[in-house]
Assembly symmetry: C2
Homo-oligomer: 195 residues x 2
Amino acid sequence: MKRVKTENRKEEIINISSKLFKEKGYSAVSMRDIAQAMGIKAASLYNHITSKQEILSIIILDVAEKFTRGMDRIVESEDNAIDKLEKIIELHVNVTVNNADALGSLNNDWMHLVEPQLSYFLKLRSQYEENFRQIVKLGVDEGHLEPLNVEVMLFSILSTLRTLYLWYYKKEGVDTAELVVQMKTVLLRGVVLKP
Amino acid sequence: MKRVKTENRKEEIINISSKLFKEKGYSAVSMRDIAQAMGIKAASLYNHITSKQEILSIIILDVAEKFTRGMDRIVESEDNAIDKLEKIIELHVNVTVNNADALGSLNNDWMHLVEPQLSYFLKLRSQYEENFRQIVKLGVDEGHLEPLNVEVMLFSILSTLRTLYLWYYKKEGVDTAELVVQMKTVLLRGVVLKP
DNA sequence: TTCATAAACTAACAATTGTTAGTTTTGAGC
DNA sequence: GCTCAAAACTAACAATTGTTAGTTTATGAA
């Protein structure tokens, strides 16, 4: 079955590239670097992909769409704001644990996308942030969240979730469920002991 | 006074480079890009700096040392853990507001430093994190912080502070003092309304 | 005006970049 | 063992990279 083999090889290129991009950034990784990590020559990569740019856009858009689909599910649910926020935290932990390398490019290499993928990515990102913002606003209106500045609440929580890929493994023997519990507490209830 | 003029020109190069590196990353910015933004030719840059690498290490190490000096002051103080955490938040907001562009390289381009600057940077960073960790531990031991996982508390707070440069300006008419107050509340007390 | 030097310039370099063209090797199904 | 396509290879390309050498221009002090 050749078709399957090709797709496997393409996925290998995407996975290895994700790792390299995460370590040094898209621009600092050459096609020869990727090829060497695969144990082949640079020109051979083009049997499986059309360009370096294609590798980047697959890495970024695949994981961006995972976040979008997860958020859409949460928005459509009947939960109150706090339950929705907890589900967003679960979403980020799960996507991070399963796609840790891709998150490097998602966070730091998106600006090297070209059109039309760049505009598409920016649209997904701003829609994601807007959905998040409305949930925070809802929480304030419901009286479940403190009446603080919405942007500060939104980006404080989102920043931690977005950079989770950089440090989650430092909890040795990462227990995903336990990490979710801890993060819900820290991000939503705070760290200061209540009297 | 020629000496002063040269230093001014060098600072201009550093500042313009910080902006460009923040937008596209160190590797994607060429010496010709920097020169064009200065209105001169690439070769002329070398009247003021010795290499592209020198630009990067000045940008990163200057701001890294600001964080280190700020943290050292906090560690030496007589405050309890919560006051120390509040001072760390103040430190980050102040350094961010005054060095917003440099923080891009600090976060995303440090791996392009060469030795011995790379090792020096990594030493500063791990010392900073260790100081932060000890303050969190102290808070737990004092009974002022929730007895949660220390790494999760540490990196949740630190992640938000480190990426503040990406979003602080979204609060239109950024009032630094107000931002400090909001962040102390969100990061330490949480967003969920207490009964 | 003269002079010194800071700071710009032009021209070039060797290395590296992403990519293409054309060729050979590999391996599964007959 | 033959066939054929997938997937590797070699060789080369034009463009861009950081940097150097040597030269000209601009400016402030004498």
